[in-house]
C-alpha cells in the first residue's frame, strides 16, 4: 500500500513530534499539519504572551502574528532544530515589537547583559535565604494578598529577569530552551533566574519589615 504524504488523519498528526510536523509543513504546506501546530500551542503560547505582555488583547494579536510569521518564514526552519524554542523566539520578538509600538518599552532588551552583581547571585546563599526563614517573609499574608503582592512584584522586576522567570517557572521550559529563545548562554539564564528569585526574596523581606513598622 502506498502512503500519500499529507493525508494523515488528525489522530496520526497528534502523535507526531513538533519538528516532524514543521518539516512537513515547510515541504508540503499542508494545512492540516499547520492546524495541528496552532491547536497544540494555543493554550501554552497564549498563556506565555498574556503573562509577559500583561494585556490579553495584545497577547491575542501577537499570538496570531506569531503563527502568521511561522507560515511566512516556514522556509527558514532548519531540520533538527527544536521547534518550541524557535516558536517562542518568534513570539518573544513579536511581543517586544508590539510593546514598543504601544509605547510600553521593555526595560531591558533581549540580548542585554546584566551587571555581574545583579546576575550572579550565589546559589548557596540564595538557597540559605529561601530555606532558613522558617515561616517565610510572606507567611503572614492572606493567600489573595500574597498573590497580589507576587503580581505587583514580578511586574516591577527588570524585563530580562521577568522574562527568564516566566519562561522557567510558568512555562516550564528548560535552561537550554530558554537560552535558545533569548540567544544567551545557559549560565546567563541560570544567573538571571537566581537573581530574579533573590530580588523577589529581598522585596518580600522589605515588604514584611514595612508591614511590621506600620
Amino acid at each position: 500500500m502506498v502512503k500519500v504524504i499529507g493525508s494523515d488523519s488528525a489522530e496520526s498528526l497528534a502523535q507526531k513530534a513538533d519538528e516532524e510536523l514543521m518539516r512537513r509543513y515547510r515541504e508540503h504546506g499542508d494545512e492540516a499539519v499547520y492546524n495541528e501546530l496552532v491547536h497544540r500551542y494555543e493554550r501554552e503560547l497564549y498563556r506565555y504572551l498574556a503573562r509577559y505582555m500583561g494585556d490579553t488583547s495584545m497577547a491575542e494579536d501577537v499570538f496570531q502574528n506569531t503563527f502568521l510569521q511561522i507560515h511566512l518564514k516556514r522556509g527558514l526552519y532548519e531540520d533538527g532544530r527544536p521547534f518550541r524554542p524557535w516558536l517562542y523566539a518568534i513570539a518573544t520578538h513579536q511581543a517586544v515589537d508590539a510593546l514598543r509600538k504601544a509605547g510600553r518599552h521593555p526595560t531591558v532588551s533581549l540580548d542585554q547583559r546584566l551587571s555581574p552583581a545583579q546576575g550572579e547571585a550565589d546559589a548557596g546563599s540564595l538557597l540559605d535565604m529561601l530555606v532558613n526563614d522558617d515561616s517565610g517573609p510572606l507567611a503572614d499574608l492572606q493567600d489573595q494578598e500574597r498573590r497580589d503582592w507576587v503580581r505587583e512584584s514580578v511586574e516591577r522586576l527588570p524585563d530580562a529577569l521577568r522574562q527568564t522567570l516566566i519562561l522557567a517557572y510558568h512555562q516550564d521550559l528548560k535552561y537550554r530552551e530558554i537560552a535558545d529563545i533569548l540567544k544567551i548562554p545557559v549560565g546567563t539564564v541560570k544567573s538571571r533566574l537566581h537573581a530574579a528569585l533573590a530580588k523577589l526574596q529581598q522585596m518580600a523581606k522589605a515588604a514584611k519589615r514595612d508591614g511590621k513598622e506600620d
Binding site: Y34, E42, L68, L130, R147, V150, K174, L197, L200
Partner: protein, 323 residues
C-alpha cells in the same frame, strides 16, 4: 549535594540522571528532602500569582483564518492588468503627440527667453562700450578719430583706438550675443591701431577676419566749417555713437533692412548720453531718417551734426580732423 543542584531540582530543571541522583539523596537523607521541600514552598510563595490565562474562544480558528487570508489574498485591481502590454503603434503615436505638443508649447517660450537674454547681453555690451567711450572723451576731449593723415583707416578701428588708450580691456564686448557669428579669437590678436591699419592694407582678408565684430561706429559729420570731423565731445543733442552693424552693402540702400545682428528685427543704438535704445527701424530722429546712411543717402559721414551715420566696420572714417 551542591546547593546549585538542589535549586535546579526544586525548580524542575535537572535532566534525568542528575534528577535521579538528587531523588536518591532525598530518600537517603531526610534533611535534604526537607530542604528541597522548603525551597519548593518558598518558590511557590514568591512566584505563584494564582492567574491562569486561558485563550479566548476561537483563537486558533481566527489565527487559521488570518493565515488562510494570507494564502489567498483578496484580488487587487493590479491582478486584472495584463502582465505584459503588447507594443501598439497607437500608443506610440499618442506618446509622440503628447511629446510634440509639449515641445511646440514650450519652444516659443524657450526661444523668447533666449532672445531676451541675448538682447540684454547686446545692451550690456553697448553700455560698456559707452563707458569706454565716455572715458576716452574725458581724456581726449573728442570721440575716437584717426590721426590727421589717416582718414582712410577703417572705421571699425575705433575699437583699436579705445584699446590703445587702455579704455577697452575686453574685445569680447564687441560681439553681439544675439547672432553668435563672431570668432573673437582673431579680434584678440589686434595689437594696436597702427598694426591693424597696416594689416588692412597689406592683407585685407586677414583684416576682415580680425575685425569681425558686430558693432558699427559713427565717425562724425561735416562741421559748419565744411570740414569732416568727429562728433563733438559735448554734442548739443543726443547723437547715436555706436550701434548694431549695418546690413550688407547691397542691402544698405533699402531703408526697411535692419541690422543683421538681431535677424532684421531692429537695432540697439548707443547714444552720446551713454543710454542704449532699441529701434525697430533705421529712423532715429526727425532730422535723421536713416541711421546707416547720411541725408544724401550715402555711406559717408553725416551732412550735419544731427545727421548721424553708423558705418560698416570696413568703411573708412572719411574724416581727418581728429587728434
Amino acid at each position: 549535594m551542591k546547593p546549585d543542584e538542589l535549586l535546579d531540582f526544586a525548580l524542575g530543571q535537572l535532566d534525568d540522571p542528575r534528577r535521579r541522583a538528587v531523588e536518591e539523596a532525598c530518600r537517603a537523607d531526610p534533611e535534604v528532602a526537607a530542604m528541597v521541600e522548603r525551597a519548593r514552598r518558598a518558590f511557590h510563595a514568591l512566584l505563584d500569582d494564582g492567574i491562569s490565562h486561558a485563550p479566548p474562544p476561537g483563537l486558533a480558528e481566527k489565527t487559521l483564518a488570518l493565515v488562510a487570508q494570507g494564502r489567498n489574498p483578496a484580488p487587487s485591481i493590479l491582478d486584472y492588468a495584463p502582465a505584459r502590454v503588447p507594443f501598439r503603434w497607437a500608443d506610440f503615436a499618442v506618446a509622440a503627440s503628447i511629446f510634440i505638443a509639449g515641445v511646440v508649447t514650450l519652444m516659443p517660450a524657450v526661444q523668447r527667453s533666449r532672445e531676451r537674454m541675448n538682447q540684454a547681453g547686446c545692451v550690456f555690451n553697448l553700455s560698456q562700450i559707452g563707458k569706454s567711450l565716455g572715458q576716452y572723451v574725458s581724456t581726449h576731449q573728442s570721440y575716437p578719430a584717426p590721426p590727421n593723415d589717416r582718414g582712410d583707416a577703417k572705421s571699425g578701428l575705433f575699437a583699436a583706438l579705445l584699446q590703445d588708450g587702455g579704455f577697452l580691456q575686453d574685445v569680447s564686448l564687441l560681439d553681439c550675443p544675439y547672432n553668435g557669428r563672431c570668432d573673437m579669437q582673431h579680434a584678440r590678436r589686434m595689437a594696436s591701431f597702427e598694426q591693424a591699419d597696416e594689416l588692412s592694407k597689406r592683407d585685407p582678408a586677414q583684416f576682415q577676419k580680425m575685425v569681425c565684430w558686430d558693432y558699427g561706429y559713427n565717425p562724425g559729420y561735416r562741421h559748419a566749417s565744411g570740414q569732416l570731423g568727429p562728433i563733438s565731445a559735448r554734442p548739443a543733442s543726443l547723437i547715436p555713437v555706436v550701434a548694431d552693424q549695418p546690413p550688407a552693402d547691397r542691402l544698405l540702400g533699402d531703408v526697411d533692412r535692419n541690422s543683421p545682428n538681431h535677424f532684421g528685427a531692429g537695432q540697439n543704438v548707443l547714444y552720446s548720453d551713454g543710454a542704449v535704445r532699441w529701434h525697430r527701424s533705421r529712423h532715429v530722429g526727425p532730422e535723421d531718417s536713416d541711421v546707416y546712411l547720411n541725408n544724401d543717402r550715402r555711406i559717408e559721414p553725416g551732412v550735419h551734426e544731427r545727421d548721424s551715420v553708423i558705418l560698416p566696420r570696413d568703411h573708412p572714417f572719411g574724416i581727418s580732423s581728429g587728434r
